[in-house]
Each structure stands twice: as C-alpha cells, then as structure tokens.
Symmetry: D2
Subunit: 282 residues, 4 copies
C-alpha cells in the first residue's frame, strides 16, 4: 500500500492521484487534517511507502516523523523536509557539502540584526528561517529600512519568525532559476521573473515562469544540493551572482510544480509516481 499524505488538495495532488490511478496502484489518501497520527498504528504500518505532500511545512514534517516511526518509507524523509523547510539548517547542509550560497549571518534581535546588515553591507536580504512563497523576505537598502523591518519582526508572535537570516542581496535582475530533481536526475529548470512591482520572483507573487536551458554546471549543482539534504524529490532555487556564479538560495522538500509543468511541458506527476512506485518494489 502506498500513502499519499496531504492537507490541502492542489492541482499537484490531483495530478499525482490521477497518475497513480492510471497504474492501478493501491493508493491510500491520508488527509492529515482529519486523521490522528498514532505512533503505533496498525493501519499505517501496512504501508510501504508514503509520498508526503501537506502544504504546511510542520504538518508535512510531523506526518513524516510519525509514519517513519511506523516503519513507513517516506518521500521525502522527515529530516529532509525539515532541513529544506528551515533555511538555516539547509544552509548548514549546503555549506558542509561545499556548495555555494549567498553570504549569510544569523541574528536573534534587532540589535544584532542591525550589526549583521553592516557585516554584509547594504543592500541585504532579511528573512525568517521558515516560510514559503517569499513571505516576509525583505530587501533592505539602509539602516532606516532595517529598523523598520526589525521592529515589526519583533512584534510577530512566533519565536522562529523573530529570527533574522541576513544575506547579501544578489543582483539578478529579479529572477531566479528553479530546477526540479527526482532521484538522481534533474528533470529540468525554469526561470522565474518578478513582475508587478515586487522584486521577488515567487510565482505566488505574480512571478512569470519560462523554461531555462539546463547546462552541465546547473545539473551538477542541483543534484549535489539534493544529495546534501538527502532529498529524493526536491526543487532547488538558484541565483546567478554576477561574479560568484550560481548560488543555491533555497531548497524545497515538498515542491509545487504547476508553473514548472506549464513552462517546460514535462509531466512531473508521472515522474514522481514512477519514482515512488520504484521504491515500493525494492
């Protein structure tokens, strides 16, 4: 039995289910918002593999944790989901594997964030360690803007959102490259270009996507990034630094791929489902 764990059903999940159905595979849809996850659950233990798809990072993470304790093989593993979901953890793994990232400083208070801005030099990026779709990712061009951001951040209610991940701003003409890796293969890459007055290229912010020709360096970097975080299915966001070249900016352990499919024409759900089934057979 294969489990598809989800909370919200996006187009991605619908397409994945369709591909499973096509192959007549016994699939169990696990809605983690209505199913309590017992650490020792007879039903869950019957599964061999689970594809983890909840949109909420912590739900995805905890779902994987409990399934693994029930001896289910999870794609991705809880460790990978958390590492990708927490930017500070992700940078650690990338740096330990000698992969290039933007220069980064972690700060816990307004005072140390202001110091961090000066260490990096304006303009800087300041973002919390968790969060998706570019949420709260701030481009800061002066001390005054830094105070503005830091003071608001202090008033956010969650401890993690108060942590500052301060980075050099990579002048990329407001675009980034996103490559999708499954197993040890790069499916392809897209270019995301910011529009509508925001400098962030996130699709959720109206960013436009187009296919991007995959070169060897990009392929190698993406696969190494996936390996660094032990991911089986992952998207890798890459910035092009004018001098340093490719830098890994973020990795996503529960990747969305709607925009990717549209831009590249690649049938991502088919690749995912084939990969998951290949794991069952082992």
């Amino acid at each position: 039995m294969i489990i598809l764990a989800y909370d919200i059903v996006r187009l991605e999940e619908k397409l994945i289910v369709k591909e499973f159905r096509k192959r007549n595979v016994k699939l169990n849809l696990l809605n983690v918002t209505s199913y309590p996850l017992h650490f020792s659950n007879g039903f869950l233990r019957k599964a061999t593999v689970a594809l983890i798809r909840p949109v909420s990072m912590y739900r995805a993470f905890y779902t994987a944790v409990v399934l693994e304790t029930n001896n289910v093989y999870t794609i991705n593993s809880s460790e990978t989901i958390l590492t990708c979901g927490d930017k500070i953890l992700a940078y650690k793994k990338l740096l330990e594997n000698k992969l290039p990232i933007p220069e980064t400083v972690v700060a816990f208070t307004t005072d140390s964030a202001l110091q961090a801005y000066n260490i990096i030099g304006f303009p800087v990026i300041d973002k919390p360690p968790i969060g998706s779709w570019g949420r709260l990712v701030s481009l800061i061009e002066s001390s005054k803007e830094g105070i503005l951001v830091a003071e608001h951040r202090e008033n956010l209610p969650s401890t993690q959102l108060k942590v500052h991940v301060v980075q050099e701003y990579v002048p990329t003409s407001n675009m980034d490259i996103r490559c999708l890796v499954i197993g040890d293969q790069v499916l392809g890459c897209i270019k995301r270009i910011a529009t509508s007055g925001d400098w962030r290229s996130n699709v959720a912010r109206g960013g436009k996507v187009e296919a991007f020709k995959l070169d060897e360096e990009l392929a190698e970097l993406s696969i190494k990034a996936a390996k660094a975080v032990n991911a089986e299915i992952i998207s890798v966001d890459i910035l092009v630094h004018p001098e340093k070249g490719y830098l890994v900016n973020e990795v996503n352990g529960v990747p969305e791929f709607k925009g990717f499919m549209k831009a590249t024409g690649i049938n991502v759900p088919e690749k995912i489902v084939e990969y998951v089934i290949s794991k069952v057979k082992k």
Copy 2:
C-alpha cells in the same frame, strides 16, 4: 578556546563560568542576543568546543547550527537540541530505540484532536510539540474540556503551538523523576512533586524537589534515553506508570539544574565543566 553561548544569565550560567574561571581555562562568553552569527566567522572558528546554554530553544538550536558549520564541536549538538526541544521528534528517537513512552497520537486540527482523545481514552494529556516548564500542557478529562482546549489552541498564533501531542495520562500522584546524565554517567535523580493546586510538577510551577534514589533500571533507562537522542548533557523526565513501570516523558538538551543541585548536593557545574574540558583535550 571554549565558547559559552547564552542569552539570559541564570544561576546555572554563573556557576558554570565560575567553574571555568577556577581552572584558568580560556573561556569566551558569547551573548547570542548581541552577537550576529556568521556562517563563516574567523573568530568563531578559533573555538574548539562550545557549551550551548541559551534558554530559548530556537536560539540554542540555531546557535549550535552556525557554530557547527564553523567547525566548532557543540555540546549538545544542534541535532540533539532540536530533538529534545521538539517532543514529537524526541518520541520518535525514543521509540526507534525501543524505549518506553506514554501512548502518543499527533493531531493537527480540533477535529482530529477530538478523535485522538477518544483513541487514547480520557483522561488525556494534550501539549504542543515545543515549549518548556509545562506551558500549555493540559490534562483533559472529557470531550467538553477537549473542545475548550482545542478551540483555544487554534487561536494561538504559531503553527507549531497548534499541533496536538495527545497522550495517555499517567496517574503518578502528580510527581515525576528527573535524572541528569553527563557523558555516559547518570549524576543522580530527583523527584518533583506538584503543589499549590496544579497537577504539573514543574519547578517553575511551584513543584517541590527532593533527591530520589537511583536504581539500576532508572540508570539504564536514562543513559539509553541520552544515547537515543545523542545527548552529552541532558535531563530525562520519567513517569512511573502503575502497570507499565518507568516511561520517558521528556528530555531536555539545555537542562536547568538549580533544583537538582539543591536536592542532591551534587556540584553539577563542576561535572559539566570537567566534561567540556575533557572534550577539548581530545
């Protein structure tokens, strides 16, 4: 060079510093609320070992992450701090090592929490995966109380605080045992007894402490729990189940030990400092 990383200076940190001073060890006090943590920092790289003591779990965790990336040996490691700090992760590690814990179910919504209460059977404990000093740990004796708790939990602002760790209530006469482990030795144990109308035995809630005679089973369980989460310095909270016997309830990777010292007379800072120095020499 040894680093002592801290945010708030408690009695514990003062005593640790004193012990270091006694030994004429070069100690660097790293206030993580005022020092920005660079992923590649020449100064930090000079350290061989760091003792991680911030009170805030996420500050302790991220401090360890950045120090490790700078090749500093951290006590405890970031992985251990996070595993101890996140009860769901901790239970996974304990179960994977066949250690006994209270029966536990994870739930993400009010609906699935109510189901979880019924799976376990009232009375149940419901607590968020993160948090210290018994904060938000709720003893729920009926569906009606469950709705009360779950609805309030939904209104909390952080994603993690909305997650329910639902457990069997262990009728322990409102007491638990806390053992302190350093390296592969149990320093000793204390008994914490709830007072003043609260069923929780946390010292921060007015719980009283007294020394508790360490038996072999307790010693073995504590050391196994420490090993399960790869901890070097850790406190292990243990409940005595009337039928199941000892159950590991929580582990703490940045342990407080003021109450422990008072009850047992053991000089904990001395033991900690000796352990840390032994690691430098290796």
Copy 3:
C-alpha cells in the same frame, strides 16, 4: 447618495443590494478592503447615509468613524458598533439603563480570573470582550478547567483577548432568544438551540433556529436594549434565567439575519432598506 460599506459579501449584503436596486435608489458599494478612507474625502462627503456592514467589527467601527467625520449619517453609528462589539462596554450601557444581564465580573489575569470564578460560583462563563459566533466563549465547571482556559488565554497574542469577562452560567437548556430591532420596532424573535455536542447555540456552531413568539415583555426589553446602546438596527440575544427571567446576554450592531429570515419568513432586507431610505428623506 447612499453608501453600503462592506468587506465580505454575504447573502445578507446581496439581499440588501437587491432591495435597494428594486427601489432605483442610487447606491454606492464601498468595499472597505480596497478603498482607503480619507478623513476629508470629497466623494464620501456626497453621501447622506451609510449602512455599515463589514463583518470585521473593527473595520465596521473605523469605517463608521471616518464616514461620520465626513458628515455622513451612519447606521449604526460608530459608537453603537463599538458598544455592541465590546461586551464590557455593552454591559455598562445595559446596566446604566437598569436592564437585566447575567452577573458579570471583569478580570485581567489568570490570578484574578480564578478569583472571579469563585465570586460567581461554578459553573461560570469566561469570554473575551470582543469576538463573534461564540468564539472562545468557555463554560467552566471547576477550578481545574479555569486554569486550563486562563493559561491558554494568556498565550493569545492580542491584549483584548486576554481580558476575562466572567459570568454566571444561565441554565437555559442550551438555547437563547434573538430578537431583531429596526428603529423602534421589534421585527420578531427566534430561538437558537445548540446541537452537535456544543452547548453554545450560535448558528455558526450548528445551532438550529425556529421562530419564537414575541411577548410584550420581550418586545419591551429588546427595544430598551436597542435604545441603551443607541442602535437603529440591532439583534438582541436574550437568555431565560429560571428565576431572574429574561437577561440580555449580547447585542450585535452589524447583525446577521439569514437564520432569522428562514425561521420567521420576515423579509429583513426590505425592512432595513426601507428604514435606511426613510433616514435619507429626513
């Protein structure tokens, strides 16, 4: 020109617009989520009357405040919307007008809330001063449940949600009466009965509604309650105390009336629109 100020379009707003259209009245739909409200706005000043319908209490209140400063007659006035929206303010006005309410104590901390429970005597109700649909309204039957609620309340992020409005529990077989008043007329009353395991009768919680025969006492009480808070369009929630008789529990200055229409067959939007137009003509 008449303004209909709204944020979310519910069935209520659709029906109101339809009634205005029928009468060929020049109506301006003001979506307060997209229109900035200038304290001195030429366009707004052209309006004579505004019907205030945002679902969010503070949006309704501030919209009324700015419109009034622009010399627009608002139904209800900002003062009425706030008084109805803040239960502590509402009780003051009701008591000053010698209207019966459940016995009530205000408390700011867990400590004083626990005292308040004992002053009233269990079972008690504890609710925050703001909020709709019975949200966070807690029935507390013991000190232990009180601690449960109070501790969670302390962790809520807004100052107002931390305030305790502690009241005697009125044993009403989980039902209440809601009367709708327009101008100085009671349109009618409904009975709301709690279902599905919750003791609260709110329709948003699955409460059932049926028409309730209006007697003279109820009519008088409703109109006096409306007058006490200077309301022109208002719903009055009334509890039947076994000894004290009718008690005013809550008033709502931006009333929903979908359930009321269904149960009574009364065309509420027609009455509202006629009332609003009558105010323009004056």
Copy 4:
C-alpha cells in the same frame, strides 16, 4: 474614599501616592491585575473618585468602565481613555472640534494602504491605531518600503494592529512638543528631540527632553484638544508643520510625566492630587 487604580507601579504612581499620603487622604490602592472587577461591587461603590493609572490602555479603559458602572467618578473617564488610546477615534474628535491634525487616511489592507500612501504622497507615516511609545510607527519613503511595512503588518496577530493610520510626514527635525493639561490649565510644555539614529522622539526610544516655552497659541490648542476628548488630565503631542503651524499628533489619557518633571521642574503629582481631591469635595 479615593481609588488609585494601577497595574505596574512606575515612578509616577509612587510620587502620586506620596502626595496623597502627605494630605492624609484615605486612598485605596487598587491593583487591577489581582482584583476582579465586579459590575456591582459594594466596596468599589464606596469610592467617590478614582484616578485611573494602569499602563495597559485596555486595562485602564475597562477599569474605568466597571468603576463608572459602580457610580465612581473616574479621572479620566473610560470614554476619554479609549478616545486617547485609539488614534482614529482621537482624530475624529479633534477634527469635529476643528483642531488641526496631520492629513490622515485609514486603510485596512496592504492594497488600500499602498493607495493611501499615494494619496498622501511620500514620505508618509503608517501606524496602527493603538500602541504607545512610538511602537510600530513607521516612516515610509517609497512604495517599496510601504510593501515592506504592509506585509509585516499583515502578519501581526491582532486585528487592530493590522489597521493602517496613514499620515503626511511632518518635517519637524525629529522633534515634537508635549504639553500637559490638568483641568482647564496647561501646566507647561516640553520639547522631545529624537536621538540615537531613530527619527522618533519618544522618550522610551532615547529621545531627549527640554522645557519648551509655552505661547498663547500652544496653550489654547492644548486646552481645546483636552476639551475635544473630554479629558481632565492629559498630555497633548504637537508637531510644528513648516507651513500649517501647530498640528495635534496624539493625545494621551494616562500620561507619563517623569521626563516632563525633570525638564520643567514642575511638581506634576502635586497638581494631579490637588485636582483629584478638588473633585471629591464637589
């Protein structure tokens, strides 16, 4: 009997108590964090006058509400405390009394806030309607900074903190004037000058204070502002606009006066206590 209602004891409250003691007046210290406030309380009803001093605006407001319902004369009244505490309400009262304020627009969403910035023209101030000591008061010089602030504001947990009060920035060389009014007399004025890199002159932000010579225009404006919000004891913050002249920026119904005393040498607690006692005698 006179009541002094407080939550935190600042220097101000200590000095006030001392002045009362000097005069042998029967004073009842009411700690609102430990005393539950009953709407019908025999003890409270014995008081004739209450001086309302809690630091938290909502605690001050609700304390006054309950005391008034118990027939106690409150200084300031609940209405005044709320009006001063809510900037949108305060501006309404000031404008209705034809007093000059900075040009102001209220907005509820990021979208309408961005429109509001353009209506006013950069640079603008954006602040929430509630809050003290300049907290979250943002100086915004471009659309990009506006997006930065608005997005963070959306993530704040309280409804009121999400509301935008957008105003023209008054170029005052980072200073403002604060006048203290008791009854119908202006005690004096101080000038607050921003320091240490922040443009805000709040004393809590390191602003420096010095005495400011009171002229007739200032005196008249302060008294009119006090009257506009029905205040008996109030501080009035005034900006000097290069063309428009004096503008009332904020009013404070529970004023701090430590800095004022130091800069002017005026014995404020004596004046307050004399005023309060004069009210008892009437």
